[in-house]
Symmetry: C2
């Protein structure tokens, strides 16, 4: 993709961006503060910048005077970068000169992508379902054994295939399909998980269909469901689509879904609704990739335990009752159509096993898909979604736990918290002198509230700028009308009412901050509890893997600043995106991985943190920014100084 | 049952009969001739007998004078035996005195019944589906593993059960069922055919359901379908029911069904219709035995290859096209509901494998059920039904073939031939002097035609009395109006028109006899061809097993007289009834037998007789009564003299 260089003056800060990038987003990425409150609707007109060299697309607003425009002023939030440019941030909308030296670019986790070629080299690229093109001998008086017998003999002799078993629908089609193209057929064979078990012949078609080997991977999230269409020959993703889980209208989180499911036929309703969501996704990706649904032989689904049980029609009632037991860890292979999916009748469905009621198949999929289960390195895997789960270990051992972090980082329990959707403030900077904010919203519209990444960033920025202390309380001596006391609580006004969609001031209160601290403390205590249970500590960590939608937005420095992540070298942190979907994808294309899943799940020692005495101690110690034990965050002050702006 | 002794005078022949036996049937059984033509309707009044001691029930008719009745005359066909009696056959309705010494009782094959206790002693009484009552530990904080995990651990520790796998519907029920009766549950487990494979948990119920272990066995005949309900614990048959195969209206034999099935959606119609028949039978036997359908865990079905493929929805088109290949030998295990059967969703269906297009699962079931597959004795197994199949061998080897005997012994191609239903002449004797017949009809009604056993008996009786010669031609020099020439063909009048239901003379023509000879020659040639293929001959046979509806009526002496059966000591001949049903029953109660089926089928060498050169020579040699090579029937003349009457 075409790249452009932006030089920000007076900081002389350069950044390379993709063609079409929004200028204010580029500034945020570079760590360059521009006052901005309205999310990019051009309402506040605070983000006036001067294009000194080159030019931008758009950027013009009625809030700019004709003279301004002629001079080269543009609204950063409306400007699209189409070439190399030099941009000056005017004094009135920038920080003071004293901060010029501390501008620094944000650190995100390295994005790790699956490298299929490694699997191929290791000869581990064996999909759970294969297609074989066979020329079967025609029957004669000398060989009038049955169609199936001649076929089996041929597979044995020519392909060294054994332990084959037909499914009934294949036998129903076989005689006619054989004779359709002169006894040349393509067989679809489902491999067993363990060697020595049966290879099921699940489909037969006339002629050569081997170039069409497709699979689907699905992540059923509590909030969002994602699907991918895969070519199991190349491992390529041919199409993907995501949509809200239709169950959302029946409850935001797993607990409220379970509560709803307990009444009457509600569990069936939830099952039907999520199946509809998945079917819609399947329809979309098939339509996008223009493939035949009959060429899709396998679908792997990964989800947390509650989502899995609801999808399969297994009552999730006991998941939320002490001692919190799921119905099962392993789900049998079955036919996709038997689960209500609109797929061909031969297509098999594989469902990721879970470890416990709150460490589900989505986490297992992440552990598998990320390769954590076979690494030598001591790894901390964190899946931050609607729920947070952590896994620590390597190829020798694995411990895991669900963190009752609460939904604060999803916007829950925070006055202006909201889900990461249009109008959510997702990024934030502050002028350390004027305390004026710079915000970005999802969709570049007027803000409605603050989503998880916005809250995380805000907390760190407020702390770095001493607007709040390590105890999460506001420095009330600062002279700004943005910090005020309302209903006995201090709060910071991020956006004034007239620049919002909600016509109320968007604020972050001390209570909100307290909830965020509790949430990050729960996470941190989780790491500590798991690590100390095996006699290790943070310093021993070789690697951190972030998974889940939240992880993609995390500024690593900021997450370490507030103690949400343990302090490690940022180079050690990788982001795998949707780990659940990644694991589902890997499972659909590698039978070896599938063979390893069972053993891995059995190795994953589950901790019920609420039942683990040290957890509460660790939690109490973490109720501080970043932590009461500052030896765990030796670089805190350095980072704080670097980041302050 | 109460037995009575009947003494027939003047022959001084005694026979023991069950209470309620019909007197003329008792006479036939004893080989005592009484003229009788009307089938027992009392119309011909020829069967007047004098009750000299004791008395009979009924037997009175308006055709008897008051004086006759007072003297003790009764119509034998209307008389019911209720006590010991002495009966005199009047001269006018009996044979002449010269025959007094040759009266002999008929020899039927010994009926063999399955002895479950032998299986039990041999520790082979392991049903393919079992129920286990388990007390599962309740979950606690110390053991909060999943419901399925606690259950599996419990089965492993307490029952030494391994390789267990849940079916999805079981997992869907498990959490609630576990908690219904304090974690006490009954599991239904389907065993694998081979050790080391998976044990599928197919059902779960609260409390102890182990006393209710039921199975169903079904024989899908071309003409008739039989079902039995079995207690898999005791092996007892709890109820049974038979009904015509609903497909009958679409064709009498397999070929006409295939021809019909080839057009449009007809195959689906035939499938639907036979499924309806089976469902009706299942409903009847469940109703008769008053059991819960949910306690039936297994159904085994056996049928010929065409019936099996039609039932399963597999196109049978290629069965009747050279080189006559079936779709498959083995059918996968599946769910009964997936075959359209009205059974519980957990119930599994097992279908007997076939050897070839014309040696089907019904024959394999007979070979398994009769134990022939594991005997040391050289055995000839003959399944005589709508089609005839023969198997020769022992536990070391087996050869088999379908005989294109044609339907003559089912009444096909015979002018007055008919199926064995009400009004069919089923038994026959003749007065060697007057050539007057004695007939019995099914249902004791006026005759409509002649069924298979009637034809077999007639042919033998006519031969024994020199009414026909060994070439099947009538002795035209006999002085009786019953032998006559019509349309250039000689025939014997069995019943005059006025005593029939059809108001035409019922006759047996030379053409009919020719067809019967061809049919028996085809059978005999089959035995010879199979035997000589392994270097053996008739004298080497240790045992003959008769199976099929027809076999029950066969008078062994008569069958040997005409050469339908090879000449062996009658003691070596056993009759197992419906071999297909017997095999289905055994399969439903012994997994060991099921394990042996695959290997047995693989051992059964199939001969396409039409493709075997020696078959035609053997056939030509057998177109004589009993055979052109009389050394094969050394006792023919002895038997003929003994039997003549």
């Amino acid at each position: 993709m075409n790249k452009h260089t932006i030089t920000f003056l007076p900081y002389k800060k350069q950044i390379h961006v993709n063609d079409g990038e929004n200028l204010i987003r580029a500034a945020m990425e570079a760590g360059v503060h521009i006052n901005a409150s309205c999310g990019g609707e051009g309402v506040c007109a605070k983000c006036r910048v001067l294009i000194e060299e080159g030019s931008v697309e758009d950027g013009i607003s009625e809030r700019l005077s004709k003279a301004d425009i002629e001079q080269g002023y543009r609204l950063a939030c409306k400007s699209i970068v189409r070439s190399d440019i030099v941009v000056r941030i005017p004094v009135e909308s920038s920080i003071d000169n004293s901060a010029l030296n501390v501008v620094s670019q944000r650190k995100k986790a390295i994005i790790e992508e699956i490298d299929i070629s490694i699997l191929k080299e290791a000869d581990k690229f064996l999909p759970p379902v294969e297609k074989i093109f066979v020329s079967v001998p025609e029957p004669s008086n000398a060989n009038n054994s049955s169609d199936a017998t001649r076929l089996i003999n041929c597979l044995r002799e020519q392909f060294n295939e054994h332990q084959l078993e037909f499914e009934m629908p294949v036998l129903q089609k076989l005689p006619d399909v054989l004779r359709e193209k002169e006894h040349q057929i393509t067989l679809t064979i489902a491999r067993p998980v363990r060697d020595g078990h049966k290879n099921n012949i699940i489909d037969v078609a006339a002629g050569d269909r081997t170039p069409h080997k497709l699979a689907i991977a699905v992540d059923i999230g509590t909030t969002t469901v994602y699907g991918e269409l895969l070519d199991t020959h190349s491992g390529d993703v041919l199409a993907s689509y995501g949509d809200f889980n239709g169950q959302i209208s029946y409850g935001e989180d797993v607990i409220s879904r379970i509560v709803f499911a307990e009444k009457g036929d509600n569990a069936k309703t939830l099952q039907k609704v999520v199946v509809q969501t998945i079917n819609k996704i399947i329809e979309k990706i098939i339509h996008r990739a223009k493939v035949n649904i009959t060429d899709i032989s396998i679908v792997t689904l990964a989800a947390n335990t509650t989502m899995t049980q609801l999808f399969l029609g297994i009552n999730p009632r006991y998941i939320r009752r002490s001692p919190y037991v799921p119905a099962t860890m392993f789900y049998p292979q079955c036919k996709a159509v038997d689960l209500g999916l609109n797929m061909d009748s031969h297509t098999i469905a594989l469902i990721y096993p879970c470890v416990s009621s709150y460490v589900g198949g989505d986490v297992v999929a992440g552990v598998m898909g990320s390769g954590m289960y076979q690494t030598d390195e001591l790894t901390l895997f964190i899946d931050m979604g609607t729920n947070a789960e952590i896994v620590i270990g390597n190829k020798e051992w694995l411990t895991c736990a669900a963190c009752s972090a609460g939904p604060a980082f999803e916007g829950g329990g925070v006055e202006h918290g909201m889900r990461a959707s249009k109008g959510a403030i997702e990024d934030f900077l502050i002028d350390p002198v004027t305390f004026e904010p710079m915000i970005l919203t999802i969709g570049n519209v007027r803000p409605k509230g603050i989503c998880g990444s916005g809250l995380l960033t805000m907390l760190a920025v407020l702390l770095e700028n001493n607007i709040i202390g390590q105890n999460g309380k506001f420095n009330t001596e600062l002279k700004t009308n943005r910090i005020r006391k309302q209903n006995d609580t201090y709060e910071y006004v991020i956006v004034w009412a007239d620049q919002t969609q909600i016509e109320r001031d968007i604020v972050l209160t001390e209570i909100d901050i307290d909830n965020l601290i509790r949430a990050k403390a729960a996470m941190y205590s989780g790491y500590m509890t798991l690590l100390t249970s095996v006699g290790l500590n943070i310093a021993d960590l070789d690697r951190i893997i972030l998974a889940g939608g939240f992880g993609s937005y995390v500024d690593l420095d900021k997450a370490m600043t507030i103690g949400l992540l343990p302090e490690v070298d940022p180079e050690k942190v990788t982001y795998i995106g949707n780990g659940s979907l990644m694991g589902a994808r890997m499972n659909s294309i590698s039978n070896h991985l599938r063979q390893d899943v069972g053993e891995t799940v059995a190795r994953m020692t589950n901790f019920e943190l609420s039942e683990t005495p040290s957890y509460m101690d660790n939690y109490m110690a973490a109720l501080f920014l970043p932590h009461t034990d500052m030896s765990l965050f030796p670089k805190f002050n350095v980072r704080k100084e670097e980041k302050k702006k």
